[in-house]
Symmetry: C2
Subunit: 329 residues, 2 copies
């Protein structure tokens, strides 16, 4: 258990380091804590023994450890008020009423990455709340067609399908009508089963080239659930941070950003705003990630803010909270 002074000291060191990116010396805190540097050094020693502080070399000042940041975030940090300036920029998103929701998230992401100078990632999934609203097929050539699926939440997916065998326009129309009749209103995650057990048996009776067409639509729908949308904003921001002043580190991060599989792992399941510090992020030991899962009118996904370990956690959280609150409305 930390004494009041120890907590105060940890707080000062974390906040000073976040600001300056330089190890904090005992002397520099004398004034604030109103005691001598020797006393502070003693306390620092204790915090270091507890694993909350670290040194970069034997005679350097102290730097928060991962555990130190964790303690700060869990026990010390207080929510921060939004500054008028931040507020002002955020307003521009929410006052534009003609923005469709999905655009609003994207726009928020851009603003948040700009305000914080961190990198913002959106991993969007199509929520299972989506129900099929309309299916359409437009023939393009003799052996290809475009299958279009619209959901009640306004999602549109289309797929260009090559047909292995010739199919008549009439057959396509029949199939589409049939599918529409049977699956409108079906939640998107149940469509595959629906197609297989309800549509497949019936389609054979009415449509000649039923195999080909069934397969085409089955593939179109199976794509729907998959590949989450990845959007990033401010990729460069995190690379600009002084702690990443190393070509190989930058290359490593850029490589990870480019790898969809790695980025997809940033996905968050828990509710509320969650903080992952350094190695906790499972993305890169030198970054922290603040994530939150959102469900918003048929869209669902993760919004994540990637910054250095010395992130301004309080401000970032406040900003994210503000955005989430306002998107709800």
């Amino acid at each position: 258990m930390l004494s009041n002074r120890q907590e105060e000291l940890l707080k000062l060191i974390v906040e000073e380091y976040i600001k300056t990116v330089k190890p904090v010396s005992s002397k520099s805190l004398c004034d604030v804590l109103d005691c001598s540097s020797a006393t502070i050094r003693n306390e620092m020693g204790i915090l270091e023994d507890l694993g909350l502080l670290e040194k970069t070399h034997t005679s350097s000042g102290r730097v928060p450890s991962e555990k130190g940041y964790r303690y700060y975030v869990d026990n010390i940090m207080k929510p921060k008020e939004l500054t008028g300036d931040d507020m002002l920029k955020l307003q521009t998103v929410f006052h534009n009423k003609s923005l469709v929701l999905s655009d609003a998230i994207t726009k928020s992401m851009e603003i948040i990455s700009e305000l914080t100078n961190y990198t913002c990632v959106i991993l969007g999934d199509t929520s299972n709340e989506n129900k099929v609203s309309k299916v359409e097929a437009v023939p393009i050539s003799d052996n290809s067609l475009i299958a279009i699926i619209v959901t009640d939440k306004g999602h549109v997916e289309n797929k260009n399908i090559i047909l292995e065998e010739d199919v008549t326009v009439e057959e396509i129309k029949q199939t589409v009508d049939l599918i529409n009749k049977l699956i409108i209103g079906t939640p998107i995650d149940e469509v595959s089963a629906m197609l297989e057990y309800e549509v497949k048996p019936i389609i054979g009776k009415y449509v000649k080239q039923h195999e080909v067409l069934y397969n085409a639509f089955y593939n179109a729908f199976s794509d729907f659930a998959q590949d989450p949308v990845i959007k990033m904003s401010g990729t460069k921001n995190i690379l600009m941070q002084p702690e990443f002043d190393d070509t190989n580190k930058i290359r490593e991060i850029v490589s990870k950003f480019e790898d969809k599989e790695i980025v997809s792992n940033i996905k968050e399941d828990k509710n509320g705003i969650n903080i992952y510090i350094g190695s906790e992020s499972e993305f890169d030991d030198d970054v922290s990630i603040i994530k939150t899962h959102y469900t918003l009118n048929g869209e669902e996904g993760t919004i994540a803010l990637i910054g250095p370990k010395r992130m301004e956690y309080d401000r970032a959280i406040t900003l994210l909270n503000y955005i989430m609150d306002n998107l709800d409305k």
Copy 2:
């Protein structure tokens, strides 16, 4: 005018530098040119006076200048045969027949960036060859609908539209039917005019909330022509090149890659494969860009390969040519 030996010398220096990224010394070429280093130094001096070679400092070996690369590309370089290995990897794209064309380009881009270790960019435009094939509108809520436009080449665009005033399902249906009747077959770049002069006058007679609906569709179509698709592959590749072993240079390039406006400038209009060396690229003085414009079954755009100035121009061109030839089929 260069002598044979001078051309040979330039060729050797360019190719050696491309391979090693180290200034080339006179001594290292004695064997190949079968003369003394002093002779080579004399010739090098001439090439330097002509601005084809440069030194990094007074007593360093020679490095090709921008003009040197240009001379090499224009006068010396010969097309390169594809290696069996390259060929093999490329085959995988073209043997997959169920790949729709647009996917084939994307896939080619990925392979080409992987084979060359350069960065590949595709700037896709919707060609004006596209003609409207079908328009559809699906109501989502009382005050919003999804407008969908399909072209004869298989392009689909959709837009979520918020209606300022209430509109009935019946009115939407009427409008869509009307638009379909009037504009199917219209080239995409003429749709705006068509809407304004043909549809607008008529729509008023049949549809009550014609203003609102007209505006909605007008906006949906105006989006179509705009925002070209940008796809990138192997962003990290160029950052890995040894000449970019500098954090600020890397940051600069990443920033440019992130800026859609800058990337859009890479667009190519000329036919055939074009080479832009260093400052000619107008993207960054330290890179070269090989670009080609493609028109392919209703899709149109630019495919660009971004590498260091010491690119393997011959190989890159051969690869691009191979891809373009095969996409045509």
